[in-house]
Symmetry: C2
Subunit: 332 residues, 2 copies
Amino acid sequence: MAVTIREVAQAAGVHVSTVSRTFSAPNLVNAETRERVIAAAAELGYRPNLAARALTTGRTNNLGLIVADIANPFFPPLIKAAQSYARVRGYQVFVADTDEDPRVEEELIGTLARQVDGVLLVSPRLSNAAIVRLGADLPFAVVNRRVKGMPAVLMDVGTGAGAAVDHLAGLGHRRLVVLGGPRNSWTSGQIRRAAGAAAERHGVELSYHGPNAPTEQGGYRAAAAVLAAGATGVIAYNDLMAIGAIEGLATAGAEVPRDVSVVGVDDTVAGRLNRPKLTTIAMPTQTAGRAAVDLLLQAIDEAASGTVQMILETDLVVRDSTGPRVAVERRV
Amino acid sequence: MAVTIREVAQAAGVHVSTVSRTFSAPNLVNAETRERVIAAAAELGYRPNLAARALTTGRTNNLGLIVADIANPFFPPLIKAAQSYARVRGYQVFVADTDEDPRVEEELIGTLARQVDGVLLVSPRLSNAAIVRLGADLPFAVVNRRVKGMPAVLMDVGTGAGAAVDHLAGLGHRRLVVLGGPRNSWTSGQIRRAAGAAAERHGVELSYHGPNAPTEQGGYRAAAAVLAAGATGVIAYNDLMAIGAIEGLATAGAEVPRDVSVVGVDDTVAGRLNRPKLTTIAMPTQTAGRAAVDLLLQAIDEAASGTVQMILETDLVVRDSTGPRVAVERRV
DNA sequence: GTGAAAGCGCTAACAA
DNA sequence: TTGTTAGCGCTTTCAC
């Protein structure tokens, strides 16, 4: 069995409570005694049992981090940043994947509930109502979702989407289509709304096709709808989908960017490596991961303080998947 | 405060131990009482406190999963598979990232020690000696490392590397270089050894350059060494490095695969999306993730049973980054 | 500044 | 089949 506080106490010739204090409130213990205790602890290889501590303090020093799909390249940088920052702040993090399923998400929150001090919901697939309901039990912070009264980090994809429409309109495209993501995705809604507004400003036609799976496959399948709509400009929910759409278009004989221009979202490695290099909306994922942990810890510490919603900017990164519209007669 | 076993007991009109049994050993309790307890628990929204349970049982039902770099595309599919399979088996998993630093790895193991039943070390950067020492305290399972007496899942990259050399030699390349990965990487050693043996069989020259950072940057920097060695065939430690090397070669005026053939390892999305599409050694990451959890749980359950080392096959996937050697006079 | 004692939520003998 | 009791490792009053 592992070394406990009791054995350290014995070795140092003090009472257990003194050992406890040495670690949780060192200033309350005589410097000399403290030295002795610390030496004994080091000698025996003592490590506090956090679970036991949690039982009395009510603080586990653990966080939950729930994402839709770990393997989607959008998430790993965020997970990495969140996890590493949490560690600096003294927290370990449970990472869980919902496979894009809201029911799994709810179940996971339940399982995690008693063993974490709070949960980070990244691009949740749950409805706002469900989040609010579950949030009554447990501090939450959400990323890419606006929920009344809840700390949130929002990546303002709307401005990016607007810029994308400006960009496409500027290139002469008159008929655009937005390929939406999963049903409950806030990001997807933002893109649609902002792109719609921008299109109207430019007097450009814009239609919506969705929901789609946020994957290459989803994009590949959606290519048909793009052609059916007669669009020459596409804004896809994420890079993966944009890459899939480009493949799908190629299969149907339409080349990117010659015949159709495609814009992705996220600025993942995938988009940078793809050929043509993807024009995309860059999301500040690492900043978001860090900030979300910050907000969550704040929410945990100050029970019910004022809610903070943090908005991070996004940028349009122009690469090679967008180009000027070519006159109809030259197409096909 | 959260609902405890006591309140459920009161509501159901039974003693706490009966409630406890209803959840941990339902068959030991009268069907009728059980119903009543379950109903009361559901009514109150009771959720067992796993940390408290862990205190008495010594079982946390948590696992640790330590990787070198979450953002490296090799890991996410493995993490996803491991996490999802662990959940099916009733375990939650802490995911931690060491940033390729062995000291962080050791520290993380220490922190996790008392709150998990076992730890999965995926492509560890720690020395074997350190792993054995730390493993005395806590069940481990390792992936991509062979440690005496420890359950392991090995992706047999050696055969893949041999096949890669066969492939390159078959294309006429007579001078190859292996770009190694991090210092303590078992995979890197395997590649070097197997490639060396295969090169000897073919009577082909093979040199080694390493260690390198397992990133695009690392590959980019190593390109100079490739050219200096006068090699026309390269096997890189992973896809990222291969992609970086291709860029680096291009910068130096050498085109892939015209002037130099490059083989990666891992078969990540990155490699599939890169242009030229990467010839690479496919690693069964998802299978490995699942299998490793399996082995770890086995090790946890049967204290000190016979050690299992599981070897998974790898495949050479030929794409566009390798091609026939072109006569010297046509190069440059 | 340190010790004594109670208790966090739960399980596991042991009795009844 | 159910209740009683002790205790897991730790923190936290309260005395001294």
